[in-house]
């Protein structure tokens, strides 16, 4: 297989993969990650239907790029494709929301600042303890995305960094602040004793 290219579909000098080898590699490395991709896509898009569209497009790109995947860290590779695909799809289909999507990767979030609610801000938690939901929704979207990906969906710091296109250190600092806010909110409302 060729070199890993950070999830970008790029031309390869290597001889093309046979269809059978491509299907086999796809089934082995990609299909087991579909549930995680759906979870992350739901966090990024705010809707189950949009998440399925995004994952479908991501899988098509991954399939085409299988010969450029080096076999290591498939989840991180797919999360990068997912992020790039989501950004492109959003630019094409919902130009009004591109700024909200890009804001998740903004290096300087105004922590604690009030921002108007947008569709991007809708949190992807349907069935929730009410107080937990209120605490999550009270977070800035950038902090919320990191908290949901790491603590709710179980991504590692590095996987979350790939999905959002931010450094691991930024994931850690946003996570720390988000958790601290959550802890204080839940403590104040008696949810944490």
């Amino acid at each position: 297989m060729g070199e890993r290219h950070n999830g970008q579909v790029q031309p390869s000098d290597a001889s093309p993969m046979s269809d059978a080898a491509r299907r086999e590699a796809f089934a082995r490395h990609v299909e087991p990650e579909i549930p995680v991709l759906l979870r992350v896509a739901r966090t990024l898009t705010g809707s189950a239907a949009d998440a399925e569209d995004l994952v479908q497009e991501t899988l098509i790109r991954a399939y085409r790029a299988m010969d450029q995947f080096d076999g290591a860290h498939p989840r991180a590779w797919l999360l990068t494709i997912l992020r790039n695909t989501g950004s492109n799809l959003r630019r094409r289909t919902r130009p009004d929301l591109v700024e909200d999507w890009n804001a998740l990767a903004d290096p300087k979030p105004a922590f604690g600042a009030e921002r108007p609610e947008t569709p991007q801000d809708a949190v992807l938690v349907d069935v929730l303890d009410e107080e937990l939901e209120r605490a999550i929704n009270a977070l800035d979207a950038r902090f919320r995305a990191v908290l949901v990906m790491v603590d709710v969906h179980g991504l590692s710091y590095a996987e979350c960094a790939e999905a959002l296109g931010i450094p691991v250190g930024t994931v850690m600092s946003r996570l720390s602040r988000a958790r601290d806010r959550m802890r204080k909110h839940l403590k104040a409302t008696g949810r944490l004793s």
Partner: protein, 93 residues
């Protein structure tokens, strides 16, 4: 043990607590730092309470994750749509 020393250790523990609890491979604590956090949590009730609160929060959020897992139907729909798209593209079943 002086209160200054304890306060220094509290600050140090607060700085390292998330990494201590998460044990994430991207940001491991050094063995020395890990031992210091462990030792401090044994002797400082305030930091121990903080640690327990973060663990309870993580546990609640993690439980929430299990209720938000995508359904098998959603996974099947995505796979079926992918098959259709690739079939249209390659002309192969």
């Amino acid at each position: 043990m002086t209160s200054n020393f304890l306060m220094r250790e509290c600050r140090r523990t607060a700085r390292n607590l998330q990494r201590f609890l998460d044990r994430d491979p991207s940001a491991p604590l050094s063995e020395d730092d890990r031992r210091r956090v462990e030792a401090h949590l044994k002797e400082c009730e305030k930091c121990r309470t903080l640690s327990e609160e973060f663990q309870a929060l993580h546990s609640s959020l993690s439980d929430l994750g299990s209720t938000l897992a995508p359904s098998d139907e959603a996974v099947d729909r995505v796979k079926a749509a992918l098959d259709r798209a690739l079939q249209a593209e390659t002309g192969q079943p």
